[in-house]
């Protein structure tokens, strides 16, 4: 779950980290009002879920409320990397003395959170780490014991910071570490964390990402930000028609799980495949055999006939799909006969001949004899575990390439 900057700043503020007196505006008029309230030079920042705002012209500087409104007007209609902004953030232009970086991420190898701190803020931390490793403090911390301030102090001192700044930064960075843990974040970053001319510290930009699995228990945080469930997890792209349709079929019936994706797929061979690892393997297998998948899908957990049928129908109705390949790794939970019934039903309901439409059926395992009997009846080519996943993919690809256009 990705957050907009204005939401990330609110999350940071609620954790007790100082922020500027910013405002969020959905219209140019609202932006003007905020700039008037601020009463000085402002920065107008596009609120989009993508990077590269500055380069794209999504960040502008204004001296007056009128200018703020003008910039807001322009930014609100500026598309960045295919994303339209949700609004603009109007920020007082800060007199910055120095920029720092503070961030927390997961380290899957250490299986602990990793706190990163640098006195070279405002730029990409990976670049700093590469070019100036002595300016980056890195400290893993326990996810079980309470986070103590000294752990933040160590990371800050590691980056070479001492004096008054060390004392003022420590509680801020400690709060960021606690917020990462308490809010189920996968990324909690303040960049820049700025020291102003008057000596105070503020978060001038923040980037937060919450783990999707953590969302059910973070409902209060999400509600406070005004985020409702209809926004989902804000995946990188809007769900396609196919993706939305498969999701609806999946939600309509609790038995088994089906998933479908077609963003980035443009081929003519529809894939009705499963499960997690099997789907990854089979998508690669089709491509390595010279085939072009029309989609990705996953079947798992023993779906009903209706569900398997629903997925197959959606795949068959995609533009450019000529045939489908129905393939899985050896199944022990999902029943072969049920998937067979489902995909045959899908063909029949769409007025297609299953024997012609299903290029190959390769699902070995539970109830396979019953499944193969049904497939025999409709003249569908099938195979058992003695035919490898890649060989099955080859047969499917050969059929579609040999088929008349």
């Amino acid at each position: 779950m990705r957050f907009y900057e204005y939401e990330s700043r609110a999350i940071v503020r609620d954790a007790g980290i100082p922020v500027t007196d910013y405002g969020f505006a959905r219209t140019a008029e609202e932006a003007r009002e905020i700039a008037e309230r601020i009463g000085g030079p402002t920065v107008i920042k596009s609120q989009v879920l993508t990077g590269g705002r500055m380069k794209a012209g999504g960040v502008q500087f204004a001296d007056t409320p009128d200018e703020a409104a003008e910039h807001a007007e322009a930014i609100l209609s500026l598309e960045i990397n295919g994303h339209m902004p949700r609004g603009v953030l109007v920020d007082p232009r800060a007199q910055v003395k120095q920029e720092y970086y503070a961030g927390v991420v997961w380290d899957g190898t250490a299986k602990r959170p990793l706190l990163l701190f640098s006195d070279m803020g405002g730029i990409d931390i990976e670049q700093v780490a590469e070019e100036h490793p002595d300016h980056v403090g890195r400290r893993h911390f326990s996810n079980l014991l309470p986070f103590s301030d000294f752990q933040a102090k160590q990371a800050i001192a590691d980056a070479g910071v001492t004096g008054g700044a060390l004392g003022r930064l420590t509680p801020i960075v400690a709060r960021l570490a606690r917020l990462f843990r308490d809010r189920d974040m996968t990324l909690a970053e303040i960049n820049p964390l700025a020291q102003l001319e008057d000596g105070t510290f503020v978060a001038l930009d923040a980037h937060m990402e919450m783990e999707n699995e953590g969302m059910p228990r973070q409902k209060a945080v999400l509600a406070k930000l005004g985020i409702d469930e209809s926004e989902g997890t804000r995946e990188g792209h809007e769900p396609s028609e196919f993706e939305a349709a498969v999701k609806a079929i999946d939600s309509a019936d609790h038995r088994g799980v089906i998933q479908g994706k077609d963003t980035g797929f443009h081929g003519n061979l529809g894939l009705v495949i499963g499960a997690g690892g099997g789907s990854l393997t089979l998508t690669d297998a089709v491509r390595s055999q010279g085939g072009s998948p029309a989609n990705y899908s996953e079947i798992g957990g023993n779906p009903s006939v209706a569900k398997a049928c629903g997925l197959a129908k959606q795949v068959l109705q995609k533009d450019g799909v000529e045939k489908i390949a129905v393939m899985m790794s050896i199944v022990s939970n999902t029943r072969v006969d049920i998937v067979a019934r489902g995909v045959i039903k899908a063909c029949l309901e769409l007025g297609k001949d299953p024997g012609e439409t299903i290029a190959i059926f390769r699902i070995p395992g539970a109830w396979e004899e019953e499944g193969f009997k049904i497939l025999d009846r409709y003249g569908v080519e099938y195979c058992d575990r003695s035919v490898s996943m890649h060989e099955a993919a080859r047969r499917a690809v050969a059929k579609i390439q040999g088929a008349p256009a």
Binding site: N143, P216, G276, L280, T281, T283, D284, I330
Partner: protein, 306 residues
């Protein structure tokens, strides 16, 4: 021999009255595993396929005359998993297989840290468990006993896989080729798991039955890099063959999309299939392109070692 479990291993099932847990209990019992009790709070006094159900892990221990079971299979909803695992760790159970998926990483990290502190090992989460062919299985791996028997025959190859289903597909391929399997472990598909390839390698290294290793890998995370480092630092006697699924995820259009498992998402440069294949191969681990190419690759490696 085998790793982690053998014919004497006793274990419990936490969440035993759930639909999936009832099935896996049946499957494990049929396969010859020793399940000495089950736990579902509030269901004390029932039984599941003859396995007595209790409210707490402590009650199971008491019922067994104070003997702490060797392991636990945890299959409870994600919101309650951490507590169940903490209960198992507190009781002194040494091997915990977490089947549940969709557990927040923060919880997984806490469970792993607590397990480390008490000398317990976690397999999973989001896994199907492990099987020693012909001896015992712990978890739903392989499905019903007769299906497990068909796909898994005893042999000399250790299998570790981020996908539960592919553990069976690969083991079946090794079985059909006459190589067979020593111990097969579904290690889990999440971003943080209790036992990675590199962390399990020393166990296989110490197992006389195992002569080679096959791993199934995916994009996402640094687990393969960790294995490559382990191989470089340890003079292992075991040749390793890898299979990498999800190569299509390296396409520019697929960036930032998650496929298959929660942990299967390309977030950084090191996470891509291409990068991982290069790293593994640099460590002397061949990465085959087809599942059916695995047996020959293993034989070739074994021949070279002999």
């Amino acid at each position: 021999m085998s790793i982690l479990i053998d014919e004497n291993t006793t274990f419990i099932v936490q969440g035993i009255t759930g639909r999936e847990a009832v099935n896996l209990t049946r499957e494990c019992l049929d396969y010859g595993s020793k399940i000495v009790g089950g736990v579902t709070p509030g269901r004390k006094g029932r039984d599941v396929h003859g396995v007595p159900v209790f409210d707490t892990v402590e009650q199971v221990v008491e019922h067994n005359g104070g003997r702490v079971p060797d392991g636990s299979v945890v299959t409870v909803p994600p919101a309650f998993t951490k507590d169940a695992v903490m209960e198992a760790i507190a009781a002194g159970i040494g091997l915990i297989v977490i089947v549940t998926e969709r557990i927040p990483r923060g919880d997984v990290a806490q469970m792993v840290e607590a397990a480390d502190a008490r000398g317990a090992r976690i397999i999973g989460p989001n896994c199907l468990g492990l099987v020693v062919p012909g001896v015992a299985k712990m978890g739903g791996i392989g499905g019903p006993a007769k299906n497990t028997e068909q796909a898994y025959q005893a042999g000399n190859v250790g299998v570790m896989s981020r996908s539960g289903g592919m553990t069976t597909e690969i083991s079946s391929t090794l079985t059909a080729a006459g190589l067979g399997v020593s111990t097969a472990i579904s290690i889990g598909g999440d971003a943080i798991i209790g036992s990675t390839y590199a962390e399990l390698m020393p166990l296989f290294e110490a197992d006389e039955q195992t002569e080679a290793i096959v791993i199934y890998t995916e994009p996402g995370g640094r687990m393969e890099a960790q294995l490559a480092e382990w191989v470089a630092e340890n003079d292992s006697r075991l040749p390793i063959v890898a299979f990498m699924a999800g190569r299509f995820m390296d396409d520019e259009e697929m960036k930032g999309m998650s496929f298959g498992h929660a942990g299967t998402i390309v977030e950084g440069k090191e996470d891509t299939a291409t990068e991982k294949i290069a790293r593994l191969e640099a460590a002397g681990i061949p990465v085959v392109e087809r599942i059916d190419a695995i047996p020959d690759a293993v034989r070739e490696k074994l021949g070279a070692a002999a």
